[in-house]
């Protein structure tokens, strides 16, 4: 279990992390979301005792990080896949970490096997692809068989097989009763992996609740209907006091459960070709929640009408 109490980090004027209080519980995968610059990495570094909080504290299993004896046996972390000396082999990289925490050399070979790097264990990390570097970082996290695991963007650079593997790995680790804390920008991945979400924006806690609650609270749910008897269906809806939005060949109904629509159709003998409850995606929910706290907004390439000509207008003349 990781517990944050009023964690704050200031860099001069800028508040990177602002009074964060939450707990990461064992037995489930907890997703850590937020736009770029929200303070996720800073928070994770403070959890690992790498950055000193301006105020507040982090407790790992009730203790401060620096008080942990052999911390790798308590918490394993993947922060940055490239956080290794490029001139050192994967094996030696893990070996020096293992030795610092009194782990046997056998364990190094074992985790190399777990992440599938045994064949390149003696190669310098310099020549590793991003995906291989990521696997090496995951191996380092697993090294001490810790009760708490923390991953920052674990699927970065992994191929689909690797993504699938890390997803199942995290779920299995959580099922074993461990605490798993994962940050990611990939909402579709998170939707598949995490059960609980902690969302921050501009250093502040925006949400700390279960995945289902999060999506439900931050998005629109509706029922999609396709029917060959559209006009009659619309009449029936109108008489029942419901409205539908038409998009393409389908109808979207807000504020009503699929069950009700099914009953309504059955009562009037309507044929439906589709009756599916739609839940907005995690991505949509996330976008809605964090809309105001995004840095580096991109823009549409098409300038608003009346603004300057596409580009190189004067160049064209010349």
């Amino acid at each position: 279990m990781i517990a944050l109490e009023g964690l704050t980090k200031r860099y001069g004027e800028k508040v990177a992390v602002n009074n964060l209080t939450f707990e990461v519980r064992p037995g489930i995968v907890t997703g850590f979301l937020g736009p770029n610059g929200a303070g996720k990495s800073t928070t994770m570094r403070m959890i690992l005792g790498l950055d000193h909080p301006t105020s507040g504290a982090v407790r790992i299993e009730g203790r401060r990080y620096a008080e942990l004896r052999d911390p790798l046996r308590t918490i394993g972390a993947l922060l940055d896949a490239n956080a290794n000396h490029g001139g050192r082999s994967a094996y030696h990289h893990l070996l020096c970490l293992a030795q610092s925490n009194g782990l046997p050399e056998r364990r190094v070979r074992e985790v190399l096997d777990v992440v599938g790097l045994s064949a390149v264990a003696r190669k310098k990390a310099k020549g590793f692809s991003m995906g291989m570097g990521q696997r090496l970082g995951i191996a380092a996290a697993l090294l001490g068989d810790p009760r708490i695991l923390m991953f920052d963007e674990p699927v970065n650079g992994l191929d689909p097989e690797g993504i699938h593997w890390i997803r199942t790995l995290m779920q299995r680790l959580a099922a074993e009763g461990r605490t798993v804390f994962v940050s990611s920008h990939l909402m579709s991945e998170m939707a598949l992996t995490a059960e609980h979400l902690v969302v921050i924006g501009q250093g502040r806690l925006l949400a700390d609740l279960s995945m289902a609650d999060f999506i439900q609270r931050n998005s629109r749910a509706y029922v999609r209907v396709r029917t060959p008897e559209r006009e009659r269906f619309l009449d029936v809806l109108r008489s029942a006091g419901l409205t539908a939005m038409e998009t393409g060949g389908t109808l979207e109904l807000d504020g009503v459960a699929a069950e009700q629509v099914g009953e309504l159709a059955a009562r009037h003998g309507l044929v439906l070709h589709e009756l599916s409850p739609q839940q907005a995606s995690l991505e949509e929910a996330f976008m809605r929640l964090t809309a105001e706290s995004v840095e580096y907004h991109a823009h549409s390439d098409t300038p608003p009408a009346g603004e300057r000509a596409p580009w190189g207008a004067d160049w064209k003349k010349g």
Partner: protein, 274 residues
Amino acid sequence: MTTERTQQIPGQAPRTPSYVSPIPIRQANLGHALASEWTKIRSVRSTMWTLGIFLALVVVLGCMVAGLIGADTYLNAPYTMPAFFGLLLGQMCLVSLGVLVVSSEYGTGMIRTTFTASPQRHRVLAAKIIVFFLVAFVTAAVAIAVVGLYTQLTVDAPSNPAWLPTVFKGALYVSLMGVLALAVGSMMRHSAGAITTMLGVVLVPAILPPFLLFNESLVDVAQFVSDYNAISALSLIFEGSPSTGHGGAQTALLAGLTVVACAGAFAAQANRDV
């Protein structure tokens, strides 16, 4: 941006609706590459550092030495002579910059961006050589000229030789050394390796002759090496006499080497995978 579904690009299958930029596409040329390299060389700090240290070394050391050496030295040496000491050390700055101009692109991966933007690789290298040579030459000439002026103004002694030609020759020699380093950097693609190699090129011939003298048959070689190494070349440029020459032959040798190295660099990069 407008979408025009017309066909203008030759060789393309005519059926598919394809985007064509409203801005006409014209051929890129060496002028573009030169502008690009000029932007590159002035937008990194390593340029400022190496050139700044070079200027400081030549000017500061030169002005210090100018006051220390006897006034009668200038009877047979030009007023720019004190610049020689700074150039000895300073040429390593130009060598470093020459290497970095190319090898930092390989080190950072920027070279892929560059070669994607200009698949005519020879044009990129040519532009690099030209821009670097001009920058190095102008900087070196300014530094030597400053030393010459300072000496002329402060040293109360007559001087026989004209010092303007030595500004040109000295600057030419060290810039050629820089271009040689650039070519070596382009072939080796590794900053530290290329700088070490160039250190060897500058220093080894200078300390080699005593060792060659052990063997009688190598006496001629030793003589050649001691006459033509970088340090004697520079010293001849600044204090040569009619009997020893004024470094013209040495500069020609360096120019020849540089041309060969550049040819090697062009050939090596032409079809190499990057």
